[in-house]
Structure formats: C-alpha cells, structure tokens
C-alpha cells in the first residue's frame, strides 16, 4: 500500500494526504529497511515532486508540490536514520517517548546535575564510580590542579561507555528482527513487549550518550 502522489490516469500531482512515512514510500512497518531501495525511491519521487519541476505550473499545483516534497524529505530523513526510524515507529504505535527523555534532559540542564532518574540497572555501579571521579575532577579544576591518573581513569570509563553505546545499537537491531517477525506472525501482546524493549534500549542508549557528553564537558572546562 502506498500513498497516491500522482493521478493514475493523467499523472498530475495530487493534493497531499497526511499519511505516515512508511506508507508514503510504500513500505510496510518493518524496521529492517532496504536503505538502497529507500534512497532510489527518494530520488525517483524527488524528480517528480520537487518544486523546481513545477516552475511553470499553476499556483495550486505548486502548493501541492511544496507540501508533498516537504513530506517526502521529512519522511526520508526519518526513515533513513536507524534511531529516528525506531523512534518514529514507536510514536506511530502509540508509545510516548519523546517527552520523557526530553523533560529529564531539560531538568538536568537546568539544575546542572546528571540525570538521576532511570539509571539503567546494569550501569549503576559504573555510573556511581564515574560520578565520583567527575566530582573529583571538577574540584581539582577549581583548585587548578592536574591529576593525569584521574584523567586516565575517566578516559577509560568513557571508552567503555562508548563501546556500550555501539553495543546498544546492535541490541536494538536484533529487536528489529523480532519486530518484523511479529508483524507477520505475532500477537498483539508479543508486539507490545517488543516495543517496550526497544523503548528501553533507546532510553539506555540516550542515557549513555548524555553521560559521555557530560564527561566531555567536564574534561573540557
């Protein structure tokens, strides 16, 4: 099932109908996506929908092409990136994720503290130790001191986090495969479970990313 961008008989551009991005490209809601096919479809549709093609058309067609091509670009941008694709699917399936992590980030930024809520259980010990080191570092910097051993510790911790960050992406991708199977042959309950798992992986990944960012900031100033 795909969106109708052009009239099947006369080929003229159609008024945009709000459809979700997978449908826009004629894909199912499977997360393992053929990115080469996506790119080709993007270029093919761009050649026909882009406002430049409608330079001499009437105002209504020009407006429709503007709307359609902005939808095309937004859809492509979202589906091309693995994380954005996952987040988009979660939103489509009614999972509220944006607000939670955004609010928490806001709070952290405003208070200047590390995000306290939702510390992934498997990271608890690591986070605790890292926080201690970072506190030490901040104090030292204030006193104008320099401790290469401490910096090395923190550097190692950061490396470990970066590895975890990459590993989490792989974890996410294995969930994708489960999801794709569940679309074809799973139950509603199965699908819910997978969605929740994906949300969890994303949150943990965001947490790790923010932590690495905080380390970088602390090491800079």
């Amino acid at each position: 099932m795909r969106a109708v961008h052009f009239c099947t008989s006369c080929g003229k551009v159609q008024p945009p109908v709000p459809v979700e991005y997978f449908t826009f490209f004629g894909f199912s809601r499977k997360l393992n996506l053929d990115t080469a096919a996506l790119e080709n479809e993007f270029y093919a549709l761009s050649r026909r929908l882009h406002p430049d093609v409608f330079g001499q058309a009437d105002l209504q067609e020009r407006n429709w092409s503007l709307e359609q091509s902005s939808m095309l670009n937004d859809a492509y941008r979202t589906l091309k990136d693995p994380i954005k694709r996952t987040e988009y699917l979660l939103r489509l399936e009614g999972v509220e994720l944006e607000e939670q992590s955004k609010q928490a980030t806001e709070k952290a930024r405003v208070t200047g503290e590390l995000k306290k809520q939702v510390v992934p259980p498997d990271l608890l010990e690591e986070v605790f130790e890292l926080n201690m080191h970072l506190e030490e570092l901040r104090v030292q910097k204030k006193l104008g001191e320099d401790d290469p051993a401490l910096l090395e510790e923190i550097g190692k911790a950061k490396l470990s986090l970066e590895e975890k960050y990459d590993a989490l992406l792989n974890e996410l991708k294995s969930e994708w495969t489960k999801w794709d199977k569940a679309i074809d042959s799973g139950t509603e309950a199965d699908r819910r479970k997978i969605l929740d798992k994906m949300l969890d992986v994303l949150n943990r990944r965001n947490y790790v990313r923010n932590l690495v960012r905080d380390v970088n900031e602390a090491m800079e100033c």
């Binding site: 761009s46 882009h50 406002p51 430049d52 330079g55 503007l66 670009n73």
Partner: protein, 637 residues
C-alpha cells in the same frame, strides 16, 4: 510562455552578472559597454540620476558620499549588528533612523534601504537583458550565499520584487556553481565548492549522481571576503600615513572620504597584482598634493592575510563533520569567487582537502552561469537539463523560543528543503485568542545567542477554557530556504490568521510602496528604451539611404527631391544621438516621407531584399537572437 525569457542573476557583493541558457550552454549577457561584470556600485550624480555599475565607480573616488558599494553586507540586518561594518565601510546611516526601523543608508541627500539599493543593481541587469533580447524580462532566478539566513534571503527577494522581477527561485551560490560544473563535466561523485567572494564565504559539500545535485552539508561566514582583505590593507596604509612624518595628515585621512577611497582603489590593484607578481607598489595621490608610496612583497601580503583566510578553515571542518566525510572521500574541489585567485587561498584549500582544486571555470562567472541553468530548469527544462534536479538544504537550524529563554530546535541544519515541522500550542488563560511565537535561526542553546527571525502572532483562536485549544502550527521552509508558517485550531478547524513581524525585514506593504515609487524609474526606463529603439530605426534608414543613393533610382528622382532628402538626412543625423525622442521620431518620419518615391522606384525585389539584409546586419550590434528587424521590413516592403 516558452518564449518568455528567464535569466539567472548573480547579485554579488562586488560584481553582479546576468546570464541565460543559450541552446546547450549558459552565457553571460554583457552590458552596453560590452562587459560581463556589472560592479555592484550605485551612485547619484549631481542631478540625482541613478548611476549603476562601471560608470558609478568614479563617484566612489570623486564624491564618495554620493556612492555606495558592497551593500550586500547590509541586507537583512539591523542597526545593532552592523556596528563593525560601520567602522570599516563608509556607509552613512540615515539621520532620522528610529530603533526597530528597517536600516536606511544615505546616498547624497536621499535615503534607501539595502533592498532598494540592490534593486537598482538588479534593474540595470534587467535592462541589459532586455536590450539583448529585444523583449521585456519579468522572471529571474537570483543567487544568495548558502549561509544567508531567512532575513537576508527575504531581503534579496524583496529587492527582486522592487526591481520589477518575479523571483522564481533563490539558489544558493555554491549549488549554482556546482550546476555549471556538473553541466560541464557530467561526472558523478562528491564535490566540495569553496566560494570566497567579496563579502561572503560558503563551503558546500554535494553528491552528484545521474543529474541529481544533492547538497549534503553547508557552512560559511556571511561576513568574510575580499573586502576584509582590502580593509586590512587600508588600515595598514592609514597607519603608515599617520606615522610618516613626511605626510602630516594624521586623523584627517580617516575622515577624508576621498583619500580613503583612493587608498582603497590602490590596495585593490596591488592585491590583484600580487596574484601573479612577487611585489606590488602602492602609489596613491592624496588630496592636497602629497603622495603615499609603499612596496608590498608577496611574503608580507600573505602574512597579513593569514588570519583572514584562516577563518575559512573552521566552517570547512564543520561541513565535513556534518557530512560524515573525510577529506580523502572528496572527488573534486571547485573554487568560486574572485578571492580564490589569491595563490595563498588556493594553497590553503589544497592543504585542507588534499587535492589540487579545479580552476577551469571562471570564478567570477560560474555562479551566474549556474543560475542560468537553474532558470532553464524552472522554465520547463530543455534536453540537456531534463535530468537535472537540485536538492538543497537549509544552512541553519530553525528553533522556537520556549520557557527559560531556551531554543527548541524543530528543523535541524542541513535538512533537505522543502522541510517542515509541526508544533502544538495551547492557551494559558481562559478566553485567550492570541498566541505569540518567537522563531529563531542558529545552533546555540539560548534564544538570545540565536538570530531572531520573526515574531508570529496567531490571531483568531476561538475563545475557550485555558488549555483547551489545540493549535497546530506548521513551519515550512520552502525551496528558497525561506520560512512559511500556517496555523489551525484543531478542535474548531479554524485557520488562524498570522501576523508576521520580521525582525530585520520589510513588511509586504513596505515592499509594495517601494514598488510604486520605482514606477518613476519605469517611466525613465521606458523613455530610455524608446530613445534606443528610435536610434536603431534611424540607423537603419540612414544605411539604407546610403545604399539607395548608389542605386540608379537616385538619379530618377528630381533635383529638388534629392536636395530635400539630403537636408532631412542631415537633420536626422544631427538629432539621433541626442536624448530627445520626439525630435528623433519627427526626423525619421520626415525622411521616411521624403524617400517614399525613391523606395517605390527601387521596388526591384532583389534590391530591396539586399537592402533589408544589409540594414539588419549593420544594426545588429550585439549577438542577439535572430529576430527580423521590424523596422527594415516596414520601410521597404
């Protein structure tokens, strides 16, 4: 529609050009003086006639308060942010400028906004094109630096409108250059366009494949260019002059506009010379009879300009980072802009990207040529452009100011345009019918560090209990990189009326007013065109008459008739180079009348055809499209 010409215009800081697609390749349309480049200089003579281009340059030296250059630096900006510019450029702000008002500059006794000044340059280009085509011009594609923000783009569009042009598209300069390059080379790959002009710097990274020009990332500095090099040299010269006890000018030089203008001309000449010579000499005649002389070696010059050209490195690195590419992955580097002729700049680019930059294309013309290609595409395309498509990006993130003075980014930089984002708003107070939104552009976290774009006031929200309305606001950045906003209250389905207060721009009403004022110029343009056409007609007749006199029919008319014809011929010759259209017209008509019998006697088809052909050849002064000359036909059929 197909016969309506669409041109591509490069509205540059230092020079402007107009070009169009002639068959398979774009060509620049020259001015009446035969030159391709029109300096972006505007002056008012003593009679307050507007002078644009090369003719205006002498005013920069002789009466600098009646001339202006590099106005592109002020487009889309407010008084607060041009304080640096005011120190380095001789811009005179209008005396009666109020806070929050659109910038106005003094030229002589008159004041103009930057878009109006740019419109005067555009009008000159329009005239050049119309003279070339022998037909009116109403549509154009105009280029802008890729890093121009919304206000700067809107100002450029306004300038087009004031000049009487329907601006079909604003194209980013590096993207335009890549079109000219791609048309020429027809190769796939990743190219970098490094564009260092008179006042702006852009770096764009594009993927070219199968006719698609896809911008991956772009970055730049809208206040960095050749002008900065000039100003540095001028400052050094002024320091010299001040320190030199032989020339006791001291502070006077800085206040003396004419002296500075002469120094500027000299440093520009020296700068250009140093692109091919190891030394250059500054030799300036200062007012009052003193001279300032100094030799500049290439080494000295390169040392001086190092900090300026180093400013291009940051944006280049950021663009590569945003594209997720390393220099080794770049296939080609294309240089654009006059300042890339400087050898040190070329070496810097070579070092940055690890390859010798491509310098085949004329860096002064390539942007206009690319704009002409885009104009062709928008006009329906031709065989050579039918597979070409431009996918450009917005250079700056778009954000909304939220509680706490923080920017919430809703469209990220380097997003392909057209791009959109939807936000939902509601009311805080019962019965509230307005919602205010502050939109910004930039990458910083805090609203005050970003560029204020506009304040939108959504009106007509149906009064409800606080928190009930669900207002959906759609932000759309169009293919020009300009923002459009629309809003709808979803519960009632009512479209909200949006009142836009551009932070640095003109309102639609103001542009309309300027358009009306510019009809005065249209009158002048029309009259000038009439005079030009009449002169052509006169030339045609005179040439044909010269031929006619060698024809045996000349001997067949009476003595009196011959004397009459020659008297009228002399009269026409006398008036035709003047500006009096009526006089020329009258002289043409009188001569036409007097030569009617001669023409009848020459009714031999072969002769009159030869005459027609000859007449067309001699009046075809420029390479225009091969249109039959209507005047010749009318006279001798």
């Amino acid at each position: 529609m197909a016969t309506d010409y669409i041109v591509g215009i490069d509205l540059g800081t230092t020079n402007s050009l107009v070009a169009y697609m002639q068959g398979d390749s774009p060509v620049v349309i020259p001015g009446e003086d035969g030159l391709n480049l029109v300096p972006s200089v505007v002056a008012l003579d003593e009679m307050n006639h507007v002078i644009v281009g090369n003719a205006a340059r002498k005013y920069l030296i002789e009466t600098p308060e009646r001339a202006v250059y590099s106005i592109k630096r002020l487009m889309g900006r407010g008084v607060e942010d041009i304080q640096d510019e005011l120190k380095l450029f001789p811009f005179q702000l209008a005396d009666d400028l109020h806070e929050g008002e659109v910038l106005r500059i003094k030229i002589g006794e008159r004041t103009y906004t930057p878009p109006e000044i740019s419109a005067l340059v555009l009008r000159q280009l329009k005239r050049n094109a119309e003279r070339f085509f022998g037909a009116p011009l109403t549509q154009a594609v105009i280029t802008v630096p890729a890093y121009f923000n919304d206000a700067q783009r809107q100002a450029t569009k306004d300038a087009g409108r004031i000049a009487g042009l329907n601006v079909l598209r604003l194209v980013n300069e590096p993207t335009a250059a890549s079109l000219a390059y791609g048309l020429d080379k027809k190769k796939n790959g990743i190219i970098v366009v490094y564009d260092l002009g008179g006042g702006t710097f852009d770096i764009s990274i594009l993927k070219l494949h199968d006719g698609i020009f896809e911008v991956i990332s772009t970055n730049g500095d809208t206040h960095l260019g050749g002008d900065d090099i000039d100003n540095l040299l001028i400052a050094i010269a002024l320091d010299d002059i001040r320190g030199d006890r032989g020339i006791g000018f001291e502070d006077d030089v800085r206040r003396n506009g004419e002296a500075v203008a002469r120094i500027r001309k000299a440093v520009i000449e020296a700068k250009i010379a140093l692109s091919s010579q190891p030394t250059a000499k500054l030799d300036v005649d200062l007012p009052g009879g003193k001279k300032y002389q100094r030799e500049i070696s290439l080494e000295m010059f390169e040392q001086m300009i190092q900090p300026i050209i180093d400013r291009t490195v940051g944006p280049c690195k950021q663009a590569l980072k945003d594209a997720g590419l390393k220099p080794e992955q770049i296939d080609e580097v294309v240089l654009v802009g006059g300042s890339t002729r400087i050898p040190k700049v070329r070496r810097l680019v070579q070092d940055l990207f690890g390859r010798v930059p491509h310098t085949d294309l004329n860096p002064d013309e390539v942007v206009a040529l690319g704009a002409a290609v885009q104009a062709n595409i928008l006009g329906g395309g031709s065989e050579i452009t039918q597979d070409m498509l431009l996918l450009d990006v917005t250079p700056l993130s778009l954000g909304i100011e939220v509680a706490g003075g923080v920017t919430d980014k809703i469209i990220l930089r380097n997003s392909t345009v057209p791009a959109s984002a939807t936000q939902h708003y509601t009311t805080q107070v019962d019965g509230q019918t307005n919602v205010a939104i502050h939109v910004l552009q930039g990458e910083r976290e805090l609203a005050r560090d970003c560029r204020s774009l506009a304040r939108f006031d959504l009106k007509g929200v149906p009064p409800m209990v606080a928190g009930m309305p669900r207002i959906e606001v759609k932000f759309l950045i169009d293919a020009n990189g300009i923002l459009r906003v629309s809003a709808r209250e979803q519960r009632s389905g009512q479209e909200a009326e949006i009142d836009v207060q551009p932070t640095y721009g003109l309102t639609d009403e103001q542009v309309e007013n300027m358009l009306l004022e510019s009809y005065d110029f249209a009158e002048e343009d029309f009259r000038q065109r009439q005079v030009i056409e009449a002169r052509r007609e006169a030339d045609t007749i005179l040439v044909a008459l010269a031929k006619g006199k060698r024809n045996h029919a000349w001997l067949e008319i009476t003595n009196d008739e011959r004397r009459n014809v020659e008297a009228l011929e002399k009269a026409l010759v006398e008036v035709k180079d003047g500006d009096d259209y009526q006089a020329i017209r009258a002289a043409i008509d009188a001569l036409n009348q007097a030569t009617m019998r001669l023409a009848e006697l020459m009714m031999d088809t072969a002769v009159s055809t030869a005459l027609k052909g000859k007449a067309m050849d001699s009046t075809d002064l420029e390479e225009g499209p091969e249109a039959g000359h209507p005047v010749a036909k009318a006279d001798f059929e």
